[in-house]
């Protein structure tokens, strides 16, 4: 019996990571995504235990109390305290999950400061952005994200307003740096979701919403809009390239130079076209 239990335990230890990779969300690469994973596993295990408990008794009753020759039903009904036994564990589950849910929610929303390998971007001007509480030492990188059918536009900090570096669909950020994403939308409601870097958040026209992440590893993470937005919805995907701070600075410089060059070309083309009287 003991050896059987030990074998089962060993099997569980071996199988658990494999099962977790199938049954669980994609691997987390940000503290808020970590908190969501913790909440997910607790909730899914509680749900699984409830399902198993109900089915053990349900199938047990079905098999044990079928009509057979000579069996007559015992016609009993509930006594005065019949519901004390089930109520106590149910209340415990409810209270426990509620408190745990609140705790994990505020953990997920607690913005953490930029790490030693990160880029100290802006001084935090606000201690509270929407529902996120931001420590004064956070030095977050503030990026505006604008949802539009069917892509995301990212506006990087720095530069004059209206002359900022931007990119579409692919966001490049430095590793180990607190990134605040400020969302809005120019048309319909979209929903940002990069599973490795935290939960979903709506981009609603006329309102601004915020989320944050701090990627712990260089790499590319992808996700997809979660709010139905019409015929191109399936193509509305997003990629986050996490790079070193040096590479990030180079990326911004390259982008800025490219934008300046493109602008110059446009001005030149406009000048030429006005010189030729509007002919191309």
């Amino acid at each position: 019996m003991l050896s059987l239990a030990l074998a089962a335990g060993a099997l569980a230890l071996v199988a658990a990571p494999a099962a977790a990779s199938v049954l669980g969300p994609r691997a987390a690469h940000s503290p808020n995504a970590d908190d969501i994973r913790t909440a997910y596993w607790v909730a899914i295990i509680v749900a699984a235990l409830l399902i198993v408990a109900v089915h053990v008794f349900l199938i047990g009753a079905l098999l044990r109390y079928r009509a057979r020759r000579g069996r007559s039903p015992q016609r009993f009904t509930a006594g005065a305290r019949a519901f004390v036994r089930p109520v106590v564990p149910l209340v415990a589950v409810v209270v426990g999950l509620f408190v745990f849910g609140i705790a994990m929610m505020s953990d997920t929303r607690d913005v953490q400061a930029t790490g030693p390998d990160g880029l100290n971007a802006d001084a935090a001007l606000l201690a509270q952005v929407n529902d996120l509480s931001i420590p004064p030492t956070a030095h977050p990188l503030n990026i505006n994200v604008i949802g539009q059918r069917w892509l995301w536009r990212f506006e990087y900090p720095g530069g004059r307003p209206g002359d900022r570096v931007f990119s579409y669909s692919e966001l490049t950020v430095p590793v180990d740096t607190t990134v605040l994403l400020h969302f809005t939308s120019t048309d319909v409601t979209h929903r940002w979701f990069i599973p490795a870097l935290g939960g979903q958040v709506d981009a609603v026209p006329g309102q601004d919403t915020t989320t944050w992440f701090r990627a712990d590893q260089v790499g590319t993470y992808h996700g997809q809009s979660m709010s139905f937005s019409g015929s191109g919805f399936a193509a509305m995907r997003g990629w986050v390239h996490v790079v070193t701070p040096q590479e990030y600075q180079q990326f911004i410089a390259r982008k800025r130079a490219g934008l300046a060059r493109a602008q110059k070309d446009v001005v030149k083309a406009l000048g030429e076209s006005s010189a030729t009287g509007g002919a191309p």
């Binding site: 399902i51 849910g101 026209p205 006329g206 709010s227 919805f233 399936a234």
Partner: protein
């Protein structure tokens, strides 16, 4: 095909000039008899179930392999945009309403309903709503998503009249349901038989009462939202236009309030069916009638209040989200107690494993899985990960299919003999049950595995190389198996309607009053309205009949005071003319 609405009633009405009998279809379409209206509702709901199954099969065929090019995104979106209203507004709710319309007045010993014409009007409103939605397939149906959330459903992004057809069709159906709810609530308040106190009302009818209030409250809210959207689209309104300080989120609130109410409606309907079916087949009373009533009431109150759990990602103040989480998690208590109640009812019983009982038990299983899943997603941080993915959809599907399809078929198996005088085929019914249950679980498992990896709902294709291929194939296969099961059962019902095994009026030896009437019941339901003295009036009637029968025999002096034996329900239902069935109908009021 249809049963004669007028059976041989004993108190004959003789008039000088009998009204000319109208043609059968006119009689069927215009009869204000609650049983005729109920039959129409059930038939129309099952027809729309076929449409929903067809839509599901097309969508799951498109999603069977990654980057499938079988259907255009526009075609997929049209089907997807009408699927949710077909499943919930045109199938699940009207099926429940049809059973309520037919059975509830019988269960409380009423000879009719309070507003019979309103009852009939509600059916035609609902059907014209359904025709409006499917009529738009003739040109171009809505492509604005399952609930037509603005701004996507505003004219700027949906400039065809498909969305208008969707709005008008859904609103007509909901208007019908509100009318129906008024009639149902008033009937159950005022027309119960003498002695039928609320504590003695069968739980199916208690559920009908709660569902009546739910459709009045939640249906009206959705009607308001649809009206505002219609004004926005056609008369230059700006209720939901952010450009003019309108709030697109307002519509989300109202729509989710309705859908959460519909969700609670379906759970309560199934709870009522299960609470009536299990005691009849386990041959013992429900473990606790009062606790079940209280639990269903708690679900009716808490259910609609959880609407914001579908909006954890939206810009809403935290306190509201925490409140929604509290209500959603607190639902565990009444649901858990109901399940406890049902298992305790089976415990110590002698369960006849007829199809109705098995469907009821399968409904408990599916709803348990779905509600446990919903409990997990209702934690706010888990919701941020799982909401709007196919994983959340899997849980919701388990509840809706478990409640409306499995619970609905349990009800159909149980009350089919009352409606038609014939049994619904047992063998095919059990085979269909196996297909539906296995299909549902395979579908839900596949959707769950795809959803935790981040696949959104409502998407017409997915990409390979993201670990979504296997789960989607699995979900598609499950959906096909489920579809086969549903169609098998509908064929079974169509066949049994005319050719089923004929049975007496009380084939299950059940305890509630509808089995006191003939099958199908005469137009006035009961020749004699019995005096109700307990929650199991038919047991009382049987016992009284037995007592009288015994009193005719010469008493043997050996055991003069021996109490009459507990009335033993029949082992298995037999065709007509068995047991005490002949005596109960038309018997004198039982003291």
């Amino acid at each position: 095909m249809s049963p004669p609405p007028v059976a041989t009633a004993r108190p004959e009405v003789v008039t000088e000039e009998l009204p000319r009998r109208r043609q059968a279809w006119i009689e069927r379409a215009t009869s204000t008899d609650h049983k005729s209206v109920g039959t129409l509702y059930i038939g129309a709901a099952l027809a729309f179930l076929v449409a929903a199954v067809a839509q599901l099969v097309v969508m799951r065929t498109q999603l069977i392999v990654p980057e499938n090019t079988l259907t255009d995104p526009e075609i997929f979106n049209r089907i997807m945009s009408t699927f949710a209203v077909t499943g919930v507004v045109l199938f699940a709710i009207p099926l429940a309403l049809g059973l309520f319309a037919y059975i509830s007045p019988l269960q409380v010993g009423a000879r009719g309903v309070a507003f019979p014409r309103l009852n009939l009007l509600s059916f035609w409103l609902f059907v014209s709503g359904g025709f409006t939605i499917f009529g738009s397939y003739l040109w171009r149906p809505s492509e604005a998503g399952f609930a037509a959330f603005p701004p996507l459903s505003e004219p700027l992004y949906s400039n065809t009249h498909g969305v208008d057809a969707w709005i008008v069709g859904t609103a007509l159906a909901l208007l019908g349901f509100v009318c129906f709810g008024v009639n149902l609530v008033v009937t159950l308040r005022n027309m119960r038989a003498p002695g039928m106190a609320w504590r003695r009302v069968p739980l199916f009818t208690w559920g009908a009462n709660l569902c009546g209030y739910l459709v009045i409250v939640c249906g009206s809210v959705m009607l308001a939202a649809l009206t505002m959207l219609f004004i926005d689209r056609n008369f230059g309104g700006v209720f939901f236009d952010p450009g003019y300080a309108g709030a697109p989120i307002l519509y989300e609130h109202l729509a989710w309030f309705f859908f959460s109410g519909a969700f609670a409606f379906i759970v309560i309907f199934a709870a009522g069916v299960i609470s009536d079916v299990l005691p009849a087949f386990a041959r013992k009373p429900l473990f606790s009638h009062r606790a079940a009533m209280a639990c269903m009431l708690a679900i009716a109150i808490l259910g609609p209040l959880t609407w914001m759990r579908n909006m954890y990602t939206a810009p809403i103040p935290t306190a509201f989200l925490v409140g929604a989480m509290l209500f959603a998690i607190a639902l565990t208590i009444p649901i858990g107690l109901l399940i406890y109640n049902w298992i305790a009812t089976l415990w110590g019983g002698a369960l006849r494993t007829r199809a109705a009982a098995l469907y009821a038990i399968a409904a408990i299983s599916a709803m348990t899985v779905g509600l446990a899943g919903d409990l997990a997603w209702s934690l706010i941080p888990v919701g941020w990960q799982i909401e709007h993915t196919t994983a959340a959809q899997a849980a919701t599907t388990c509840v809706l299919v478990g409640g409306a399809v499995l619970g609905g078929f349990a009800a159909l198996h149980y009350w089919f003999p009352k409606i038609t005088g014939r049994l619904l085929g047992e063998g095919l019914g059990k085979a269909a049950l196996a297909a539906i249950l296995v299909g549902l679980y395979v579908f839900a498992a596949g959707s769950f595995l795809a959803g935790v990896k981040g696949q959104p709902t409502d998407v017409y294709k997915f990409f390979s190389g993201e670990g979504l291929d296997g789960p989607n194939l699995m979900a598609s296969i499950g959906a096909f198996v489920m579809a086969v099961g549903v169609l098998l059962q509908l064929g079974n019902a169509a066949h049994s309607w005319g050719k089923g095994v004929a049975v007496g009026h009380d084939p299950w030896a059940a305890a509630s009053l509808e089995w006191f009437a003939a099958s199908p019941p005469p137009i006035h339901n009961f020749d004699v309205v019995p005096d109700v003295r307990s929650a199991e009036p038919l047991y009382d009637i049987r016992r009284a009949i037995r007592d009288r029968t015994h009193s005719w025999r010469p008493q043997t002096p050996a055991r003069p005071e021996a109490p009459p034996p507990e009335p033993e329900p029949q082992q298995e239902p037999e065709p007509v003319g068995q047991g005490d069935s002949g005596d109960a109908q038309g018997g004198a009021p039982v003291a």
